[in-house]
């Protein structure tokens, strides 16, 4: 083994641990899922298993989120979204993934495009769920929000960090206790270090990555919810108009998380796209 291989192997161990990487399914084409702002890989719980039959499934937590090594989130290093894109490329290198289908939700759809622009040879296609390259209203472009709304979000996160730290048993009126597993979930699920959440929240919602969208060279599917208060239809249309390799699919979903509220519709949309491209 050469020195270079040793370094690679050590790094592999560190990234798999650092980002709580889970690999499942068969030996088929790899599908890598990147979760959006606010949660962790649990968000893919209703969608990812559907691809295990004929794909290798790779799940991970973004650095600083979920069960990733929070201490690895250096506030100077993670100064913009491209560093999370570098993490994805490093992850592909680690696991020797090639010809990858990269599925990104919300902010991770943007991160997926940044990764594909930086290392197009790694990826076969992208699936962008509820994407938005820019959440702000800038000139003619209507991303949906003014900047002060983003400060409102930061305030909401701060207000609830206090409340959540005291949230214990899963008991509200009429709700039966669901045992230890549910209690653990309550404590860990969507719990993020409040400082990291604020830092990443600002990066997510104040970023403008429209130019990066137009540079994408590999095929991508845009899954646009019909009634998404975070990434509105106008944004999906802008992306489709400005991304020559894109396919746009609208799904009759209300909300920002089709993979959670309407997993079957989401699975079908991804399936159709993968089948059409391979066929």
């Amino acid at each position: 083994m050469t020195d270079g291989d040793t370094t690679l192997a050590q790094q592999a161990t560190s990234i798999v641990d650092r980002n709580n990487v889970k690999v499942r399914g068969s030996t088929g084409q790899a599908v890598l899922f990147a979760h959006g702002f606010g949660c962790d890989q649990e968000m893919w719980r209703f969608v990812a298993p559907a691809f295990e039959v004929d794909h290798q499934i790779v799940l991970y937590d973004l650095t600083g989120f979920g069960k990733s090594d929070v201490s690895a989130y250096d506030f100077n290093t993670y100064s913009d979204l491209s560093v999370h894109a570098d993490d994805i490329i490093a992850l592909c290198n680690e696991l020797n993934l090639e010809n990858v289908v990269l599925v990104g939700h919300s902010v991770s759809a943007t991160i997926a495009v940044l990764a594909a622009n930086a290392a197009p040879e790694k990826f076969d296609r992208l699936v962008l769920l509820s994407p938005s390259p820019c959440f702000l209203k800038i000139g003619d472009y209507d991303g949906g929000f003014e900047e002060d709304a983003i400060e409102g979000l930061i305030e909401a996160m701060e207000a609830n960090y206090l409340g959540w730290s005291e949230q214990t048993a899963p008991m509200i009126a009429g709700q039966p206790p669901d045992g230890q597993a549910a209690q653990d979930l309550t404590k860990s699920f969507c719990q993020t270090d409040p400082t990291i959440a604020k830092h990443f929240g600002r990066q997510t919602f104040l970023a403008d990555n429209r130019d990066d969208m137009t540079r994408l060279t590999i095929p991508c599917l845009i899954v646009q919810c019909e009634n998404d208060p975070i990434a509105p239809v106008s944004v999906g249309n802008w992306m489709h108009d400005n991304m020559p390799t894109s396919t746009l699919e609208r799904v009759p979903v209300t909300g920002h998380c089709p993979h959670m509220t309407n997993p079957n519709l989401t699975i079908d949309a991804i399936r159709r796209y993968l089948d059409a491209s391979t066929g």
């Binding site: 959006g36 702002f37 606010g38 949660c39 649990e42 968000m43 719980r45 919300s106 929000f145 003014e146 709304a149 983003i150 400060e151 409102g152 979000l153 930061i154 305030e155 909401a156 996160m157 701060e158 207000a159 609830n160 206090l162 409340g163 005291e166 949230q167 899963p170 509200i172 009126a173 009429g174 709700q175 549910a182 979930l185 309550t186 699920f189 969507c190 919602f205 208060p229 975070i230 209300t254 909300g255 920002h256 998380c257 959670m260 509220t261």
Partner: protein
């Protein structure tokens, strides 16, 4: 959506409007709407309920209403619905907001203590260390885990005083702190100051001490070097003056009589004495009183009666006044009040009240022989009247009053 009357009242929207396809998250302020979509909705899907989520209801034209939101998903056959229980949380939101602010302030202050270059400790009344910041770890080379629970006297040893804490921690001067030479557990020498913080947090039993240690080893070393240098300089200046006097004596003896030569050498010695005073103060000036003390020592027997406030003079002023006093003293011993046993000199100085910043200095001789003005004016007279007045940027007068000679010097107090 089905709503009760309370929600209609809070939002100012009629039930008929709310129940016409409106979604709950649409009633929230924009920031909380994003939060709902990115955090609450996924939680609700994954675990089936959320509880006590702080939200704000948007109200047309009014301040948003802080609420706590509980929700649970219920399935009845194929039907699925989410039940929301919303509570007015105005007071709790205010309380939590001030709590967050207080916490942010406390965290900021705690970060300052943590990262301070000074050692900041909390010590119980018996000397047991309770808190030990990273500044203390660096200064004394002991980790917090080892320091906490240990007696401070075992961690910071005062030279020649093993039981220093009991005495000195209680008697620290709040203004200047307490300075001592110490040794850390590894035997390294340190010059440190210790200050005590009097006011501690609420609920404090006041039996504990908050102590700040500063490592002044570097400063103390510089001070020692400076002292050596100043003493050396003073020594050399004195030596040089002595050498100059010796050379003058050997060179001029054949040409000049003894009396004027002694006068010359005494004048030089007067300058040397004023330099010694200035050296003690690192040449930053001295007090008028310091100069008078020299004359009192020289004359003795309480024949110099002096009175005046604390007035600091610059190094140049001290040298000049010293020369003038030397001339006056010499004259008084020879011809004036100090030439007879009954004579005395009164020296008074004061800060002028009508002209702030003006100092009036007076030398008055009494009880001496009758005074007669000299026929000619020598160098000594010229020095006390003209040279000194010019150096002080003031005015000087020598008056030959019958009762005794009187010298008055008026000058502005320099900064």
């Amino acid at each position: 959506m089905k709503v009760n009357r309370t929600l209609s009242n809070w939002t100012g929207k009629d039930a008929s409007v709310l129940e016409n396809g409106e979604r709950l998250q649409a009633l929230l302020t924009t920031g909380h709407r994003i939060y709902y979509e990115t955090h609450i909705a996924p939680m609700l899907t994954l675990q089936g309920y959320v509880r006590e989520i702080a939200c704000k209801l948007d109200r047309d034209g009014q301040e948003p209403l802080p609420v706590l939101l509980n929700a649970v998903r219920r399935k009845r056959g194929k039907d699925e619905r989410i039940e929301f229980f919303i509570f007015d949380a105005t007071e709790r939101a205010q309380y939590e907001s001030s709590l967050r602010q207080a916490r942010a302030e406390a965290e900021e202050l705690a970060a300052i203590v943590r990262s301070s270059p000074n050692a900041i400790l909390r010590v119980a009344a018996d000397g047991t260390v309770e808190q030990w910041n990273s500044g203390a770890q660096r200064m004394f080379d002991v980790s917090p885990s080892k320091a906490i629970g240990t007696s401070i006297e075992n961690l910071i040893k005062m030279k020649n005083h093993p039981t220093w804490f009991a005495k000195h921690a209680t008697e620290v001067d709040d203004e200047n702190g307490f300075r001592f030479e110490a040794e850390d557990t590894g035997g390294k020498d340190l010059d440190i100051t210790m200050a005590r913080i009097r006011h501690s947090g609420p609920g404090d039993d006041n039996n504990n001490y908050s102590l700040i240690f500063r490592d002044i080893s570097h400063k103390a070393k510089q001070e020692r070097q400076l002292n050596v240098l100043v003493r050396e300089l003073n020594h050399r200046v004195k030596n040089t003056l002595a050498v100059v006097l010796g050379l003058a004596r050997q060179t001029l003896r054949p040409a000049i009589e003894k009396q004027p030569f002694d006068q010359f050498s005494q004048r030089v010695m007067a300058i040397a004495r004023s330099h010694a005073i200035l050296t003690d103060n690192y040449w930053e000036g001295a007090q008028i009183r310091d100069l008078i003390a020299i004359i009192e020592d020289e004359i003795g027997d309480g024949r110099i009666i002096s009175q005046g406030p604390e007035v600091g003079l610059s190094a140049d002023q001290i040298t000049n006044l010293s020369m003038a006093l030397h001339e006056l003293t010499t004259n008084a011993i020879k011809y004036g009040a100090l030439s007879v046993d009954t004579g005395r000199v009164e020296i008074n100085w004061s800060v002028q009240t009508d002209e702030p910043g003006q100092i009036e200095f007076e030398w008055r001789e009494r009880g001496g022989p009758a005074v007669t003005p000299p026929r000619s004016r020598g160098f000594g007279t010229q020095l006390v009247e003209q040279i000194v007045a010019a150096q002080f940027n003031g005015s000087a007068r020598l008056e030959y009053e019958t009762g005794g000679l009187c010298y008055r010097l008026t000058f502005p107090l320099t900064q």
